[in-house]
């Protein structure tokens, strides 16, 4: 599945819900299901300090593909992280560096990405991209 197809799949999933609470119910389930990050990786250098919720992010390149894992102390934040990881994992650094992550806006979650929202997510997306850009340079 291409990164575009993955985004479209998520958009389709969210289209089922016309009620905000249902959307969030789904995000919360995703948050609960997000694989737990290796506790060794919950370090300060991986911490993205937001105003409210905190996010830890780890990024590595395996066999030429990006592999992200992340965690947050807020479950909704975690659910959105789950979506980002689903879209961005197993993609090449080049793909991610160029990617337009429009699905966030399309499913109505852009408010979580505004810099003033300060839940660490905007910085996280930036860091995910930066890790990919770095990897393209290293290649």
């Amino acid at each position: 599945m291409t990164i575009e197809e993955k985004q479209q799949e998520i958009i389709d999933e969210f289209n089922i819900y016309d009620d905000w609470m249902e959307k969030y119910e789904y995000i919360i389930e995703l948050g609960k299901d997000l694989p737990i990050i290796d506790p060794d990786k919950l370090t300060n250098d991986r911490l993205i300090e937001g105003c409210q919720s905190r996010v830890w992010l780890d990024a590595e390149v395996k066999d030429g593909k990006m592999q992200y894992s992340a965690d947050s102390d807020a479950i909704i934040t975690k659910g959105i992280i789950g979506l980002l990881i689903r879209v961005m994992n197993d993609e090449t650094p080049e793909t991610i560096a160029k990617a337009d992550l429009h699905f966030i806006k399309d499913i109505g979650l852009q408010e979580h990405l505004s810099p003033t929202r300060a839940n660490g997510l905007a910085s996280m997306v930036k860091k995910m991209k930066m890790a990919a850009i770095k990897a393209t340079i290293n290649n």
Partner: protein, 411 residues
Amino acid sequence: MSEGTKRPFSVREIREEFPALRQLIYNKNLIYFDNGATSQKPKIVLDAINMYYSKDNANIHRGVHFMSQKATTEYEASRITIQKYINAKKSEEIIFTKGTTDGINLVAYSFGELLSAGDEIIITAMEHHSNIVPWQMLCQRKGLTLRVVPINKKGELIMDEYDKLLNSKTKLVAVTHISNTLGTINPVKEMGVKAHAVGAKILVDGAQSIQHMPIDVKDMDCDFFVFSGHKVFGPTGIGVLYGKEAILDSMPPYQGGGDMISKVTFERTTYNELPFKFEAGTPHIAGGICLGKAFEFLTSLDMVAIQKYEKELAEYAQDMLDTFEGCRIIGEAKNKTSVVSFVMEGIHPFDIGTLLDKQGIAVRTGHHCTQPLMDFFGIPGTVRASFAFYNTREEVDKFIAAVEKSINMLK
């Protein structure tokens, strides 16, 4: 308080005057419980803003023409309305600022110029960052020492410790009247008496009290009282610093510019009298005029009845929240009002706040600009519901149901 007949308090009638309350958020009737952050505006204020910019807009204090004089008259009339409302001796003691933060910074800079190394300033453990950081900056600049009155687990000041901190080196006590996070009402009058006994001045941060109770600076006998317009049903970007005339007179100007001068030559400038000495540049004219309208509105209300109503509303909400398993109320002072802060075991405040928002309920989550207080309670933040006189018991019931729904989703 100024004299005059007060209309009997009716929440139904008052709500009619606040158009912002009548709107749908995510298709739900808005429940606005974020009054600690900012208040909604009554029609009298909204109309005044519209009127000012559509008809009366002119610069003040220097024009010969009709519009300028009209704007000046209204701006200065607003100063008098506020003076009367807080029972200041003179209108010269009312300095217009940008808000509470600006007022505190003005005092920290200007009054701070009168202090010297070794002097001490006392604040408390429940201060908003804006009543911490300006004093830290002053202490750094002038080599002063900052002392902090501790609190107990209920969120009340430990007054014995306050007594111990006061000494002949204490020059200023800066304390919040009502804690924005805990709702605790501090005994500022008693603290003032004690501060004065050692020759210190007291600044009361009224950002969270001016909208909730009658304020009488003469009776409080505080040396400074600061508040923001937008939290008291007025516009943003305008606020007030009240200061006793003799003290303000002894303080040097804060910012230089137009309006604050008497005569300027390149060799020497003499400064204008109070209050203009502290009001450099074109002020927020519309803000000042419309803040006066907000106080006209308040003057017509029975603040004693309102204070009682809001306290009962907050207590009702707190009692209901307390029935949830795992709920911890942050701030259980005996003397508190208008604010209920809480955390739910195992649930992040941000998650509750997000789900409440989607149910049309506006609350604040986070550290509320009181990080040292969060550290004291060992929590990352709280969910805070803060009430105003236009909130109702029915809204609290809906809020409680929404909290319950959110908890069930998040568990």
